[in-house]
């Protein structure tokens, strides 16, 4: 029971003010501690305590969430990472049998943002494999594209607007009895709506020099950490490849030079997926894969990984 005198401010002005000051300061401190402790226990980003074997999924703001997952959840539960953008976001890496690979691809991400995740995983964990997409979008821009993915967000896990948005999204899903968009492997269960592609015939893709350097640095860090690197050239719709073939050739040649001879590159534009690439339905907007096509792609990656790295499938 709280003493009754706590609820009486009294008539002496100075004493009244003194008491008021203590009430305000102590209640702010107590409330802040309660909020932080509550969020620590909920641990929605898997940042605190032993999280080995636990499953965490993205509910909202994949940038913040995947970034914070890279501190503990991914290093503790996965032995590989897929670095990519929205092109590879719907590749279900759970279906890769040889490794537990977390799909760190983020909608609209560039290599700078993906590096923030990869750096954390490489430094805090012992990953065995790094799958890196070879795709112009990743190196087109440099630097963070949003105000998210900064180290302060770690402390934001104890109480922040982003965190409360995640709670809200989780609550909304449970009220609607819906499954989340993401699984615990970072795969995003989505398919872009059908629309006419707006390809432009160009001779070359722009690549930001700083982002290219960052790409190289990421590969170098992985090498230093003893991680096997595999480059992946995502499938490109047949018509588009005809139109922009020269630009893709130049870009792929440039990026291939970043990889060492013993670092395999899986080119998904080979004959194995020709039929898939010819079918426009597999590329609803001309760029991104449909769910069915993405499954096919992940199957090919799985088989090729096993073959390239001599792992029995």
């Amino acid at each position: 029971m709280l003493p009754r005198s706590l609820f009486i401010l009294g008539s002496d002005w100075n004493a009244r003010c003194r008491k008021w000051n203590w009430i305000v300061l102590s209640s702010v401190c107590v409330a802040a501690v309660i909020v932080a402790a509550g969020n620590y226990c909920v641990n929605i980003y898997g940042l605190f305590g032993d999280i080995k074997g636990k499953q965490f999924i993205v509910y909202d703001n994949e940038r913040t969430t995947k970034y914070l997952f890279s501190y503990k959840y991914i290093p503790a539960n996965f032995d590989g990472l897929l670095i990519g953008s929205s092109i590879s976001a719907n590749w279900d890496t759970r279906k890769i049998s040889s490794f537990r690979i977390y799909n760190a691809s983020i909608d609209g991400a560039n290599i700078s943002e993906e590096t923030l995740i990869a750096d954390n995983v490489l430094q805090k964990g012992r990953p065995k494999i790094l799958l890196v997409l070879i795709f112009p979008y990743l190196t087109e821009t440099y630097g963070r594209k949003s105000r998210y993915m900064n180290p302060q967000e770690y402390w934001g896990a104890l109480g922040s607007v982003q965190l409360f948005r995640v709670y809200f999204s989780k609550w909304l899903l449970s009220v609607r009895h819906e499954a989340g968009e993401f699984n615990d492997f970072g795969y995003k269960n989505y398919e872009v709506p059908h629309r006419d592609p707006s390809w432009i015939k160009r001779s070359e893709f722009f690549a930001d020099p700083q982002s290219l350097q960052e790409y190289r640095d990421l590969l170098q860090l992985a090498r230093v950490r003893g991680v096997r690197i595999v480059g992946i050239i995502p499938p490109i719709e047949m018509q588009r490849l005809k139109l922009e073939g020269r630009a893709f050739d130049i870009y792929h040649r440039n990026l291939r030079s970043f990889f060492l001879p013993d670092e395999p590159i899986i080119d998904l534009n080979g004959p194995v997926l020709d039929q898939m690439r010819k079918n426009k339905d597999n590329f609803p907007d001309g760029y991104h894969l449909s769910k069915a096509a993405a499954d096919q792609v992940i199957g090919v990656i799985d088989a090729q990984l096993a073959q390239l790295l001599r792992i029995p499938n």
Partner: protein, 470 residues
């Protein structure tokens, strides 16, 4: 170190408070002053140590000028004042204006280039504060300061970065007589600190995102986006600067000092003259006393037209004080014109506008002028202004789509709407500066404001105050 950072609120301020109180209680007023100077230099140095010598040089030079002015008499006294004022203006100009002049004067274009120095924190404020001190010394309104008191007065950490511009006659006696803080002042300080922090991190930073979204793509705004962007900036700058001022006054009160109020619900003004009596009050007083009045006095015979011309000139200079850009000149010029028109209107016109219409006209004008204050350049300002009245694209939100996601809208719009209602209809934070309200409900509200502010602070990297750029 920013007021809206955990480092300041949870580490710097408690340590400083404890050390300062210990020094003040167990030592003399002089020891308290020494403590205050050290703490203020540490605060200033933490921002960027390289600019600390500049602050120190300015303090020493103006201390010596002040002493000299007090000692001399007659013509030499006036000459020294002129030298001191020119020295201060040159000092300020070196950092703010040289490149503007060199870049835009036809004969000098490309021939000279002053190094692009970053603006030292608070240089515009501590320079103006010392100009006021020197003029007050010359007019014998205040005696010359002792070195310690002068250093403490100029570098006083709650106000050194962005004001409120404090006159020596208010601050120095408080410094000399020593600390006189007590529980009621601390209550006032806590209240103002909490309100100011809430204004900055919850209200200003939220509406600021809408303004940023619009002003980064001024050429592709629909009418709705242009209005949303300009109104957002109008409220952002108010919450940002009045929030800063509330925090500065609150922190000073925690240490036992009283600073002048700087805002008094300006967006409820019914005329532009009233607006300037309520907006950035300490700067308005500076403009009136140290710019407008001397300009007016320089005329042989004062007429309404000459008074209007003096207003126009004073406001243009005030606009330029904000920074080396023509957008600020336009901002000052617009306000100068509006004030001059208002002066003439009040004297000559026989019609009295209804209150609501006066308010609408004043607010719309203030909103319009702030477009140039915020725009990165003159062309962008004109583009946003044009978009306000463009009829071919009224309601689309294409320009915002790139920078604001739908899911973020509640976090931005709820504080924005709440803030606008409070700014237009709510109670003024100055009531807490006058007398603390000691009830359980205010304790609850203040605690809640602080807690919400902490959550918002923990969500983003602390954003600088808009006026730190000046």
């Amino acid at each position: 170190m920013l007021f809206n950072s955990f480092q300041f609120l949870c580490v710097f301020l408690p340590i400083v408070g404890a050390v300062y109180y210990y020094c003040a209680r167990h030592g003399s007023a002089r020891i308290a002053q020494i403590c205050l100077v050290i703490v203020s230099f540490v605060f200033y140095g933490l921002q960027k140590p390289v600019y600390l010598p500049l602050l120190l040089a300015s303090i020493v030079a103006n201390f010596l000028f002040g002493r000299g002015i007090a000692r001399l008499a007659g013509k030499r006294r006036k000459q020294l004042l002129v030298v001191a004022l020119v020295a201060n203006i040159v000092f300020l100009s070196c950092f703010k204006y040289w490149n503007l002049v060199l870049r835009h004067l036809p004969y000098l274009q490309g021939k000279f280039h002053f190094p692009d120095w970053e603006l030292p924190l608070g240089i515009s404020f501590f320079t103006l504060q010392q100009i006021m001190y020197l003029v007050d010394c010359y007019e014998e309104i205040v005696p010359a300061n002792g070195f310690l008191a002068h250093a403490a007065f100029v570098s006083f950490f709650p106000s050194v970065a962005s004001g409120p511009l404090t006159r020596a006659r208010l601050m120095v006696p408080q410094l000399i007589s020593g600390v006189s803080s007590n529980a009621p002042k601390i209550s006032q300080g806590i209240s103002l600190l909490a309100i100011g922090l809430f204004k900055k991190v919850v209200l200003a930073d939220s509406v600021g995102r809408i303004a940023d979204a619009g002003f980064t793509v001024p050429g592709s705004l629909s009418a709705l986006e242009a209005w949303a962007s300009s109104l957002s900036f109008t409220f952002q700058i108010y919450f940002d600067f009045s929030g800063y001022s509330d925090m500065a006054i609150g922190i000073a009160l925690l240490l036992g000092y009283t600073l002048p109020i700087n805002f008094n619900t300006p967006y409820r003004s019914l005329s532009i003259t009233e607006f300037w009596q309520r907006w950035h009050i300490t700067l308005s007083q500076f403009i009136t006393n140290y710019l407008y009045t001397p300009i007016l006095r320089s005329f042989r015979k004062i007429t309404l037209v000459k008074a209007a011309a003096a207003t126009l000139l004073a406001m243009t200079i005030a606009g330029l004080w904000h920074g080396p850009s023509f957008t600020f000149v336009i901002f000052g010029l617009l306000h100068g014109i509006a004030l001059a028109v208002n002066q003439v209107w009040r004297r000559k016109a026989r019609i009295r506008l209804p209150g609501l219409l006066s308010w609408i006209l004043t607010f719309l004008f203030v909103n319009f002028a702030f477009i140039f204050f915020r725009a990165p350049n003159l062309a962008a300002g004109l583009q946003v202004s044009r978009a306000l009245v463009s009829f071919h694209d009224l309601f689309t939100l294409k320009a915002f789509a790139g920078s604001i996601r739908m899911i973020e809208m509640p976090v931005i719009c709820v504080p924005a709407i709440a803030g606008i209602i409070v700014a237009l209809f709510g109670e003024n934070s100055n009531v807490f500066a006058l007398k603390p309200r000691i009830t359980f409900s205010t304790a609850l509200v203040i605690s809640l404001l602080m807690l919400i502010s902490f959550i918002f602070m923990n969500s983003n990297v602390a954003k600088e105050f808009v006026y730190f750029g000046f």
